[in-house]
Amino acid sequence: MAKATREAYGQALKKLSATNPKVVVLDADLSGSTKTVEFKKVSPERFFNVGIAEQNLIGTAAGLSLVGKIPFASTFAMFATGRAFEIIRNTVAYPSLNVKIAATHAGLTVGEDGGSHQAIEDISLMRTIPGMTLINPADAREAEQAVLKAAEFVGPVYIRLGRMAVEDVYDDSYVFELGKGVQLKEGSDLTIIATGLMVQQSLKAAEILKEEGISARVINIHTIKPIDRDIIINAAKETKAIVTAEEHSIIGGLGSAVLEVLSDEYPVPLKRVGVLDTFGESGKPKDLLKKYKLTPEDIVEQAKKALKLKR
């Protein structure tokens, strides 16, 4: 089954409206797209539209958290992390307020709206803020659980959600654990470490590699900060080559985070799959993933390069 992580966000909010009276939801005139409208339908008295004003969106959420509410603030990732960056940094994260920023339409798969609306810097921006927790779910199931977990967790959280439907990575038995990477496939020749939409691409890449006799481990890093250092270091020690994959700039995102861990602890050859320091453009999500080299075949290509660098 395929479902967008933003749809799962709407469903999770609906559940929270029934289970947690402290939860309030704010949106900046995009509630139909971000799916916060699902919360508005059931708890209109706890839903606040702030209009097209992302700075005030975050500032107001900060104030609500200071009087005991658990605010979820939503808009597109571009505007949440770009336009409101400094408010997130100074008014939310600096005092460690309990604000959840759930941003949708992250990455190139925004599609037709084009480069102005495709946030490919948001992981980098949020990751650099001290004390920020950053979650990028791989499928709808993981997204729903991550949102529910974020409501329980005390502190600022950024949740990165997508517009496009993504295939199921998990079945019903899956239990999301904040801060813990998930090994989805065992492998011994190299490890593909992926996040978000690129997890499904990586699983397909591993199948292609298997047909060519290459055994690839696949790890999903849903919590990019704080990152699961152990699972990364073990993968480096055991497979001795890494490929990272993310629907994000190759600068500052998951690839950089993994490099930071390995450079400190256990350097091995590493290739990064991501958007190559350029902006996106209009197009069908599928065509964009192809043009910007985010397909399973692109992961396979980088995997082979990483293998060649293995000592």
Binding site: V24, E45, R46, F48, V50, G51, A53, Q55, N56, I58, G59, T60, A61, A62, G63, L64, S65, L66, V67, G68, K69, P71, E86, I87, N90, T91, Y94, P95, S96
Partner: protein, 279 residues
């Protein structure tokens, strides 16, 4: 006299503000001194606040966070924080950061300093109280320079849209910002008409007159919508050489200037009507 007690507190605050900044050798005296009477009245007459942790307390947000010394000074007068902290302003490991930091000093209600953000925080608090039908009120002190920030007007719109009648903004309108007079840097007048157009009730007063401050807050209580008190003030008030000088926005007095300023303000035990400032 009716306001003698407040004047004594105000004088003590001015001395402490100057002493903090003098010892730190940096800080913002001008915009701290201009807000002394407003802060004194808020904390000693207007706000319901007997302790900095009581759930039922009214909330105060210092949107113009560089005025931190005046906030620290009033918290000292309330007995919420110790006067022993005076020499620690802006020093490493101090609770008294250059701009208010609620993690280091939980007695302040929010971390502020980056301008234009406090009104949004106050909005969020006021919204939260309203949806719970709680009586708590929220007060935010704004600087006139920070009205240049677009976010202020986003917040002004929201306060009207959600009819935040439990929110009161006070504008410390001293007319100066870092690069000079408001009108030379960026025209913000007519401030009253702007806020009126945004749906706010506007009250204009002399921000150094306790009588006018009191009247303003009493008038505010009769109005069922967000209100702003535009308080005309003098930057550096109480210190002759600092008054109305943009250069004293963010500069500490030297030894000589400090002694002169303290002499002008008078000793704590002096008669209230004696000094030029408090007479």
């Amino acid at each position: 006299m009716k306001y003698d007690q407040l004047k004594v507190i105000a004088r003590s605050m001015r001395r402490n503000i100057l002493t903090m900044i003098y010892k730190a050798k940096s800080g913002h005296p001008g915009g701290s001194l201009s807000a002394v009477e407003i802060m004194t009245y808020l904390y000693f007459k207007e706000m319901n606040i007997d302790s900095p942790t009581d759930e039922g307390r009214d909330r105060f947000i210092l949107s113009k966070g560089h005025g931190a010394p005046v906030l620290y000074a009033v918290l000292m007068e309330k007995g919420f924080i110790s006067k022993d902290l005076i020499p620690t302003l802006r020093q490493v490991n101090s609770k008294l950061q250059g701009h208010p930091d609620m993690k280091k000093l939980p007695e302040v209600e929010a971390s502020t300093g980056s301008l234009g953000q406090g009104l949004s925080i106050a909005n969020g608090m006021a919204l939260g109280f309203k949806i719970d039908n709680k009586p708590n009120r929220v007060f935010a002190l704004l600087g006139d320079g920070e009205l240049n920030e677009g976010m202020i007007w986003e917040a002004a719109m929201l306060a009207n849209h959600y009819n935040l009648d439990n929110l009161t903004a006070i504008l410390d309108h001293n007319g100066l910002q870092i690069d000079g007079k408001n009108e030379d840097v960026m025209t913000i007048e007519p401030i009253d008409k702007k806020f009126q157009a945004f749906g706010w009730h506007v009250i204009k007063i002399d921000g150094h007159s306790f009588e006018e401050i009191e009247k303003a807050f009493e008038e505010r209580k009769t109005i069922n919508k967000p209100a702003i008190i535009i308080a005309k003030t003098t930057k550096g008030k109480g210190c002759s050489f600092m008054e109305d000088e943009a250069g004293w926005h963010g500069k500490a007095p030297n030894d000589e200037e400090f002694c002169l300023a303290m002499e002008e303000m008078g000793d704590i035990g002096d008669k209230i009507d004696g000094g030029g400032l408090n007479g």
